[in-house]
Amino acid sequence: MKIRLNKSVAALATGALLLVGVPVVGLSSVSSAAAKPVYVIGYQGPLTGSAAQYGLNELGGLNLAINNANATGKLPFTLKVKSYDDQGDPTLAPAQAQAEVAIPNLVAVVGAAFSGATHASMPYWYNSHIAAITPSATAVTIATGKNNFFRMVFGDDVQGTTDANFLVKTKGAKTVTVISDGSFYGAGIAGVVSGAAKAAGATVTSDALPQTSSCSGGVASVSEFAAEATKIKTSKPDAVFYGGYACDFANLLPALKSAGYKGTVMSGDGSYDAVLLKTTTPKSAALGAYLSAANCGSTGNLTGTLAKQYKKLTGIEPAAALYDAQAYDAGNILVAALQKISLTGGVSAIRPAIISYLHSGSWSGVTGKIQFQANGNLVGTGKGNIAIYKVTGKKLPTAHSCY
């Protein structure tokens, strides 16, 4: 069967199809301008590239909050969300930050999703007195000296210290092996845990084990997890802490089980995800593992009606590990801010007013009680704010103790 599509045909066909098809069959709808003033909340995060899932999930959470707020009809203004794709890259972030601050009616930014991008964008936001609430950037070093920075999650330093103390003091581990998956989050929390465990008096061995390609597009293969379990089997530490995500923790647990490791196994909030129990095979390998999460007394995720609305809006399920709940809460906080402050004086007065309001208020959201310190971190040393769960069945545990 010889199919001959020559130059012009193929080129024209493809080009025309896309050119015509795309705008005509457009998915977006332009809403008619309202008589109320329109304010824009910017979202900055990865919408393309390998980390796109974070950006898409968080954007969904923010959109949900703003859509619900607009739908009440009680606001004296209309809010719009404008998204800016930085691909999680600190080299692209400044360009997007510049674009954001140039929008005349932009009042605040939820973003950036990644710490590097947040770091790179901060100077531009600070210059324009724009409040930046990041739903997920956890690097400790961002919150230095700029009053417009706010963070919706506890830094990994809080969670990591709590986890280390749990292992060493509560569980009495004298030797701990800390494994990091080499990602931004994993290396961060693993570093904190090993430092804190050392400070608490344990002997710490640190190791690195990259993610597998099926989980987060990493480089390891599963046999490396088996080999790591073998290594642990020979060195026999009292406790093992894995700094990384659920998908790969689900590879480590069965490996440890078949290596016959009997000590305490723990991981951070990156592993607190339903994927963990779906993917661990056999399921029994996950029993007894401890998971920590950076909030206490709430599920930390969109559930029930909110989850349904989220699914309807975005087509994807909300996931705690993807920070959509944080973005949702951030959106609601900004709505509350805009309702409380005076809107006269134009955007240039609104922006700093939002910053002052954020420093003085406190709210209760899906992720728990939210209040910001002067440096933008959540209030509290995190003491009593970190929940530690133990896997006891086939579903993600909800019973927990707070440390």
């Binding site: 199919i3 193929a10 493809t14 896309l18 795309v22």
Partner: protein
């Protein structure tokens, strides 16, 4: 118009159907692993308006457009080969572009335009992207062009040199946990020669073991080298700050006696600095291309054994190619470090190496003009789609379009948009040789 036979007609109809449905799926709603067919289903069955006239299923809409395009293309094809107007247009176009003064003059025109650009463009996104996404990539493409285009060495790990330059800057300005060897911190401006030097050294290091390797073996080894550099950047936390990145890197500043200037948040001063260096590198690479070194590279590229028999030392010139290409990438690294004030290893991935290779080949491997043009075109399109996406376009589909574009371009114009003249002849000869499996 010719009326093809039933069989030919049905296969063509089928092909158009498949292509149009593919376009429908590409522009349609996404699916998910739990509902894998929802995306395809939605794309095919969703109702849409047929240019505002009536409502039909999407698949009919796309198929209709597909058929229309095909018919139009068929009739145009007839027109194409016959119309003399088109012929004269083509020949005059060729006579302009083949003129030996075209490229240098065009480059000068582009350079003047480039210098005036910050005054023309006021959109802050574009002002920033001009530097960090376009100018930097021009530098990277120029450097890779020396390695791949001039010397014919397939390098899949070019991002390593970029990373070395960037981290060298971070190191010298004290942004890394490991303090710089001379104790005190210096501002990034004076790190430029150091970073370029270190990048060139790493180019030499990569070049040496590659002497005995050809073609695809070289590709995999350079790829490995690129991966290893990224790996070390990610894991040597005590040296590079690890996955969490470096500390704050200061902006450029100049304190030379009475001359005091600090580059700040405004991208324009960075832009002028980069453009100055781009022109500088273009000038150097152009002179190299037409010097003894360039001729040696051409000889090695086309037939290494013959070149060696003529007394050209392949190792020396190959290593030179790596080092010189690395210099450009090293400087690009300095720019990135100083402008984003922060580095993470996650920026320097294998994907980036491949992206740079795509830029080089798209524009025309071995041609400085082509490579610059290719970098500008692809990066501008990418940034445009990120900044002002057209209605209905979904940002995460960017690489679907890029991938399709690459395949189509390679089918219809593999030599790149502006092929190097010499290269063009060499490639067609070489491919004929290879096909005969001699």
């Amino acid at each position: 118009m010719n009326f093809p036979t039933i069989k030919k007609f049905s296969t063509q109809a089928l092909t158009i159907l498949l292509l149009s449905e593919l376009a429908a799926v590409i522009t349609g709603p996404p699916g998910s692993a739990d509902a894998p067919w929802s995306g395809v289903q939605g794309s095919i069955t969703q109702k849409t308006s047929f240019f505002g006239l009536f409502i039909v299923g999407r698949w009919i809409f796309f198929y209709a457009i597909g058929i229309a395009c095909y018919v139009v293309a068929l009739s145009l094809r007839k027109v194409n080969s016959k119309t003399s107007a088109l012929k004269t247009f083509r020949s005059s176009y060729n006579s302009i572009t083949d003129n030996k003064y075209f490229k240098p003059l065009a480059l000068v025109a582009v350079a003047i335009l480039a210098i005036l650009l910050p005054t023309i463009i006021s959109d802050p996104f574009w002002r920033q992207a001009m530097v960090s996404q376009i100018a930097v990539f021009i530098l990277l493409a120029l450097g890779l062009n020396v390695v791949v285009g001039f010397a014919g060495l397939l390098d899949l790990g070019f991002v390593a040199f970029y990373a070395v330059g960037a981290y060298a800057t971070a190191w010298c300005t004290g942004a890394l946990p490991m303090p710089p060897i001379f104790g005190s911190h210096i501002n990034p401006f004076f790190t430029i020669p150091i970073a370029i030097g270190l990048a060139m050294v790493s180019g030499v290091i990569l070049g040496i073991p590659t002497l005995r390797l050809r073609g695809d073996y070289l590709a995999i080894v350079t790829l490995g080298f690129g991966e290893i550099i990224t790996l070390f950047a990610n894991n040597l936390t005590g040296v590079t700050g690890g996955a969490q990145g470096t500390k704050q890197i200061p902006h450029f500043s100049l304190h030379l006696g009475p001359l005091k200037y600090i580059w700040g948040l405004d991208p324009a001063p960075y832009y002028y600095l980069v453009i100055g260096f781009v022109i500088f590198f273009i000038f150097i690479f152009f002179s190299l291309e037409h010097s003894r070194v360039g001729r040696a590279w051409t000889a090695i590229r086309e037939d290494e054994v013959a070149a060696e028999s003529l007394g050209i030392n392949p190792l020396k010139y190959k290593v030179m190619a790596f080092a010189i290409g690395a210099a450009s990438a090293g400087f690009a690294g300095v720019m990135t470090a100083a402008q984003s004030n922060y580095l993470t290893p996650a920026t320097f991935t294998l994907y980036l190496s491949i992206n740079i290779l795509v830029l080089v080949i798209f524009g025309g491997m071995g041609s400085i003009f082509g490579v610059v043009f290719g970098a500008i075109v692809i990066q501008t399109i990418t940034m445009y789609l990120i900044h002002s996406p057209p209605a209905g376009y979904q940002a995460q589909d960017l690489y679907i379009y890029i991938g399709a574009l690459l395949v189509i371009m390679m089918i219809f114009r593999p030599a790149g948009l502006f092929p190097a003249r010499r290269r063009h002849r060499a490639d067609s000869d070489a491919s004929r040789l290879e096909d005969s499996n001699v």
